[in-house]
Amino acid sequence: MTRAIVNIGPVRANQAFEVRTLLQHPMENGQRSDENGKRIPRRIVTEVEVRFEGELAWSAMLGPGIAANPYLAFWLSLPSEGELLIDWRGDEGFSHRERVAIRFAP
């Protein structure tokens, strides 16, 4: 079962805050060979999209140079509370989604 960890500090309206994500994924770069000399095929996450209440807030395209279990941190600023959706997609039909309910701190 794919694991992802999302850490968000206290959020306040229209104030920049950091979202830190960690995804469990081997990020096989396609350059390695197994012990019989056979090339291990590439299997990486290729894109990440972050949507807030349906609107694209942040996205990234990843390449084979990204290490396994990628850590991605980014900053957002939100006008209201609501649902944050983080989608990872990659080779071999890989797809993982995390939903985070954003609630403002006092």
Partner: protein, 227 residues
């Protein structure tokens, strides 16, 4: 020759591998939002709830292992496999076993490694120490020669660590993966061009027992990050 080897002992104060890492890597281990090992801890938490909690209301202590259980010396992984019998045993690198041992070890992070005190384990401790001091492989090197005798100096540009086991299972950057103590020791044995013990050889657990005594007093760092 043997007498000289027996004289090798850690003269320097105990030093975790953490202290020899770069500041960036130390920060990576210390930050739970970045430490990749936390992915396995979370997975272990989920697995524990799904499979173990029906018997274990509270997660049991990991730091008391290796210990005698059902008359045999077992490490935490072997004890988990014994619990699951007759289900097929998980290999030492099975993702589920790494997750469960990471979860249980992490709960005691910060507590100190305790020297095995059980009188019934003294013979096993001596055997573990004998294995640690035994020259092996094509290069005829023992663990003690490098990790007691040369710790702090360099081999091929890398600092030779004292070789403690206070952080296992560990996320190793060289593996880009989580791994058990057995995996690391297998790498060491291959490094001195020795045939690693078979997967089910009691030698692994005997060494783990001795390493626990040798590292007593160090803080538990599960899940550690290592280069």
């Amino acid at each position: 020759m043997t007498a000289w080897l027996l004289m090798l002992a850690l003269a320097a104060p105990l030093r975790s591998g953490l202290e020899d890492m770069s500041p960036a890597l130390q920060a990576l281990q210390r930050d739970d939002s970045q430490n990749p090992g936390m992915l396995w801890v979370r997975q272990g938490e989920h697995l524990f709830g799904a499979q173990c909690q029906r018997c274990h209301a509270q997660p049991p202590s990991a730091k008391r292992f290796p210990a005698l259980s059902e008359g045999k010396l077992m490490n935490l992984g072997q004890r988990i496999n014994a619990c699951r019998a007759p289900a097929p045993a998980w290999g030492s690198e099975a993702p589920e076993l790494l997750a469960l041992t990471a979860f249980l070890g992490h709960r005691e992070r910060g507590q100190l490694v305790e020297a095995p005190k059980d009188a019934a384990l003294q013979a096993d401790l001596r055997e573990g120490e004998r294995l640690f001091r035994q020259p092996m492989g094509q290069l005829g090197l023992s663990c003690a020669q490098c990790h007691d005798g040369q710790a702090g100096r360099r081999l091929g540009g890398s600092v030779i660590l004292q070789g403690h086991a206070n952080g296992y299972p560990v996320y190793r950057l060289a593996w880009q993966d989580m791994g058990s103590l057995q995996r690391r020791l297998r790498g060491c044995m291959t490094g001195v061009r020795a045939e690693p013990f078979a997967a089910d050889d009691p030698a692994w657990t005997l060494l783990e027992l001795y390493l626990k005594q040798r590292g007593a007093g160090l803080p538990i760092e599960v899940p550690a990050v290592r280069p």
